[in-house]
């Protein structure tokens, strides 16, 4: 019996599937980046996506968020087929992505970055006629979001460039958490961080799950993945090699499946 079907039996069958991909293929000329991959994210879970370099992790995420258009295959959100034209469509549908380079304006302050592209305007004439930003409300909401996520920051009025790498990552994750209605996708959120900062970001990811959102976490860091993930989706050669859980498999097992040393 494959590891894939084994874990399916083992996990709670009642939890709903939020985001699904069926037999998705993506080719770039002669290169096949995704070779009929399946994907399944359930409500309220942290799903880690692991795989060797070039296994197709990033392409899978891009296909799921509309950043690339699959050559063939189907993507379903809450059971209904979707065709995102671009990342903005996915955002409107309630999917937030934390990009590896964080997508921030370094000279702007934390609150401005949290609300970048989604600024709040004042109520009444000041907002409708004079188009005035409601800076106070944005600061308050930013502060509330950060404390709800229990993430420690200096002042909300600080420029993002004055923050440490971990704090910046925290702001990017908080932005996703603040606006996501269904799920948050993160590409290597701890890749550039030290041990303590990594711990803080993992804590953040757990708080997002506590808010009832599902999380997709791409990571190379096996100890992190085993610490935090509910399930682990293993990519190999553009396909899903297996889905396992930290309970059912060891890190060595996962690495073996990833590299093809063991057939899943």
């Amino acid at each position: 019996m494959s590891a894939d079907s084994m874990t399916r039996d083992a996990t709670d069958a009642s939890s709903r599937v939020v985001l699904e991909a069926r037999n998705v293929v993506k080719t770039y000329g002669h290169v096949t980046a995704l070779d009929g991959v399946d994907f399944e994210l359930r409500a309220g879970e942290i799903l880690a996506v692991v795989g060797d370099n070039g296994a197709g992790k990033s392409t899978l995420i891009k296909a799921l968020t509309g950043a690339v258009h699959p050559t063939s295959g189907e993507i379903l959100l809450d059971g209904a087929p979707v065709h995102f034209k671009g990342p903005l469509d996915a955002r409107h549908a309630g999917i937030e992505t934390v990009y590896q380079d964080l997508a921030m304006a370094p000279a702007l302050d934390i609150a401005s970055n949290l609300f970048l592209g989604r600024e709040l305007r004042c109520e009444g004439v000041m907002g409708s006629v004079f188009r005035r930003l409601d800076k106070k409300r944005m600061r308050e909401e930013a502060r509330r979001a950060m404390s709800e996520l229990k993430f420690r920051l200096p002042s909300i009025g600080n420029a993002v460039e004055a923050l440490s790498g971990g704090q910046r990552q925290g702001v990017a994750v908080a932005r996703a958490a603040l606006f996501a209605r269904k799920l948050v996708i993160m590409d290597e959120p701890t890749a550039a961080l030290g041990v303590r900062e990594t711990g803080q970001v993992l804590e953040l990811i757990r708080s997002i799950r506590e808010r009832g959102l599902a999380v997709v976490l791409i990571s190379h860091n096996m100890p992190n993945v085993f610490e935090i993930a509910d399930r682990i989706h293993i990519m190999r050669l553009g396909r899903r090699a297996a889905v396992v859980t930290p309970q059912s498999h060891s890190m060595n097992d996962v690495v073996a499946i990833m590299t093809g040393a063991v057939a899943a």
């Binding site: 380079d101 000279a107 970048l116 592209g117 600024e119 188009r131 502060r143 993430f151």
Partner: protein, 328 residues
Amino acid sequence: MSTATIASQQDTPSLKARLLGTPSVGPLLVLVAFCIIFALTNPRFLATQNISIILQQTVIIGTLAIGQTLVILTAGIDLAVGAICVLGTIVAGKLVNLGYDPVFSMGFAILLCTGAGLAAGSLIAGLRLPPFIVTLGILGILTAALRLISEGGAFPVRDPFLAWTGNTMKVGGFVLTYGILIMLALYGFVWYLLNQTKWGRHVYAIGNNPEAARLVGIPVRRHLLSVYLLAGFIYGIAAWLALGRIPNADPNAMQTANLDSITAVVIGGTSLFGGRGGLIGTLIGALIVGVLRNGLTLAGIDPLWQDLVTGILVIIAVALDQMSRRRN
């Protein structure tokens, strides 16, 4: 739990942090220092009449520098400021001299300037050409075209409406031209846009990190287009202010407007790399240039030295900007 209290305690940065973080404090100190030096060496410097003159001399560069600030904040540069402004003076003057209604003439000239801004913006945002090259090209085209239109020479423009911005009023001993008031109103308006609206936020975001701006859903190209359009409109208004100061349309005028407006912006603390700085600094920067030229003139120093000192100031300002970026 403790994290929540820490986050809420320091909602707004301390006064010291805010002063250090405000880019216009440095330029303001420089302006005050120059004023003190000139006042001490020449009692005439602080006379109300001389202050009025400084303001009047600052009007055109000060206004052009508003548009230049917008462009530089998006990490661009505008080398066509002077040429577009001269386009405005020549077209308005020509039309009036041909007998057209002065309000129509000036309005049409401002529209043309706005169109020139739109053309620059289309090439920069649409074809993704570098702003430096596009505006340099427009400078060349306009300069040649304007010399053809005006048959090479300057011509007088005598019309009360076109000269209206040069009219004066007295405010507490100070003689202010309407041009000064229009310039200040433009500063207020654009300051509001930059600091209190989404539009302004997005100007900063694009200058800071265009890729991030795109990823968060800001229509970067359309936004750039609107920046160059507004800048062109402001250069058109500057043309009206220029006719109020000197009732003359001269295709060879404003040769130093590029350097002077960039100087005002850079001395005012706006980064040539985009995304940092602001209009208050630019107003101070324009005043620094005005005070410097006026003070040195009062001291009887050759105008060549004025250019030299201005040049040194620009280089110092750019070097400071570069150093602060390296630190980050």
